[in-house]
Amino acid sequence: MSAARLIARKEAGELLLSLRGLSWLMAVAVALSVFGLLLVSNTELSLLDNAQVVYDMVAIVTALGGLLALVVGLDAVAGERERGSLVALLLTPASRDAILSGKLGGIAVAWAVMYALALPYLWAVGSTGQNLREAVTILAVLGSPVVLGFGFFGMALGARLATARTALLTGLIGLMISASPLLLGPSLRQSAIGRAFDVINPISAAVNAYDGVIIDSQPVLGQWPHALLAAAWLVLALWLARSGFRRVAR
């Protein structure tokens, strides 16, 4: 087995078998349950159009996925460095790129688990509507690069900043700023600053694509400009992670 696959398998084990990883997944499941319950049981929210409810749930899954990936990415470098387990890994014949690839694989596993966890919640809020299948597809197509990008960004921060705490705070601030379109009202998003931010913000790209596909019933393939931005974010985050990881413990 290649070093990258070995490390990816170890990272997956860290998520699925360690107390720390299971706690994160449990927290994500609890958050999804709370949001799902709110969307179907709250009197005012239950009046929303079904497509709007599915859109909200998909956006929440993306934001939570970004948070989980960020934390997993940070922990894979800064967390391991602080626990003292990273240096043993760096002192093996595995190349830096192989170690990095394995850790990126771990982030992909985290997102895959999160995605699988989200499916029953999406079904619960959207099974009576018509756009559930499109929602699941656009979440995979647009959500994946955005979420993975946050994981890689977390690795980059973990590699570059001195402590895990500083990296976590910086990452959370970045994620909050990026996720602000979910919090801002439509009028603010339509302002000049809001529009300019939308052009460069990966979460805006995802949210706009979700809006087009789930609410306006546009084809998934028609979302390529948003997909392009999401892909650019993924490539940038990957480059930051790679260049940062080459300097870890060096």
């Binding site: 860290e14 830096r96 060096r250």
Partner: protein
């Protein structure tokens, strides 16, 4: 030579840490790297392992510059770092198998169990590393370092957290490994460990090597004779003047105070005395030897 360092200079974040460090370690040798906290021992190790880039000087491991060499160089090196982290959810067998595979070794579970037994680790079946004591973790760290059967072992405080029996076990293992030709760089604060295991040492203070060489030569050059107090149960059969490397300084009742030449190790001297009919019941170190040399060299630097 497995490791050659000469004139090593290194800064971290613009702050000079190492100014002039040198050491040389050959096959089958256990070399002690000593120095006070913050002297630069761990930084020296990091530079030797290619984890930090030197500003100047020469660093060679297996004849290659570790900073420029690829990760393949780590195939021949086992490391016990100062800060030991593990994957707490794994068992020792899983953990060692993971590192064995990273070293491209296809060792089966029996080999892993052998490695675990070799360092005196006795976990319960299926016991997760997260439940290990500090001493067990230290042993596991050594087992990980040995998993690839390295030619060079770099050990940073390897006996930390071990009880006296554990320390003795690790000493015996290191002596056995050195006998098989493994070069061992031992970085420790425990001078007893160095006294027992090492023939040569390097002492670092404030980022500089202040002494390097054979312990006996260094002790002699500093004129630090080791002085011991021996309790005898009866009169010695041989006159003290007839025994080489041992000179009697005083005699107070059953206690005899003797100085040992740096050329002779205490163990060899006691064997000689016992052979010549000295009924030794108790030995206490009064002064001298590596302890005093270390204190003198590091204090001189601090002053």
């Amino acid at each position: 030579m497995l490791i050659e360092i000469d004139g090593l200079r290194l800064s971290i974040g613009g702050v000079p840490i190492l100014h002039d460090v040198r050491l040389a370690l050959g096959e089958g040798e256990i070399y002690g790297l000593l120095g006070p906290n913050g002297a630069g021992k761990s930084t020296t190790i990091a530079a030797a392992l290619g984890l930090l880039k030197p500003d100047g000087g020469r660093v060679r491991v297996f004849g290659k510059d570790p900073w420029m060499a690829g990760p393949e160089i780590y195939g021949g090196i086992g490391v016990v770092p100062e800060q030991n982290g593990f994957y707490d959810w794994m068992t020792a067998e899983e953990y060692l198998a993971f590192f064995a595979q990273l070293h491209r070794r296809d060792d089966g579970p029996n080999k892993m169990r052998e490695q675990i037994a070799a360092v005196g680790l006795e976990p319960r079946p299926g016991q997760a590393i997260g439940t290990y004591s500090r001493g067990m973790r230290q042993r596991l760290s050594l087992a990980r370092a040995l998993v690839a059967e390295p030619k060079l072992l770099v050990l940073d405080e390897p006996t930390n957290g071990l009880d006296p029996r554990g320390r003795r076990d690790i000493h015996d293992l290191l002596i056995e490994l050195a006998g098989r030709g493994v070069g061992i760089l031992l970085c420790t604060h425990l001078l007893d460990d160095v006294d027992r295991l090492c023939r040569r040492v390097g002492i670092i203070a404030e980022g500089r090597t202040v002494a390097e060489g054979v312990i006996a030569d260094l002790v002699r050059s500093e004129r630090r004779l080791a002085r011991f107090r021996l309790r005898l149960i009866g009169q010695p059969a041989t006159m003290p003047t007839e025994i080489r490397h041992v000179s009697v300084v005083a005699h107070e009742g059953e206690w005899w105070i003797v100085d040992l030449d740096p050329e002779v190790t205490p163990d060899a001297a006691w064997r000689e005395l016992l052979f010549r009919g000295w009924p030794i019941a108790e030995i206490r170190r009064e002064s001298g030897g590596l302890d005093e040399l270390y204190l003198a060299l590091t204090e001189r630097r601090a002053a």
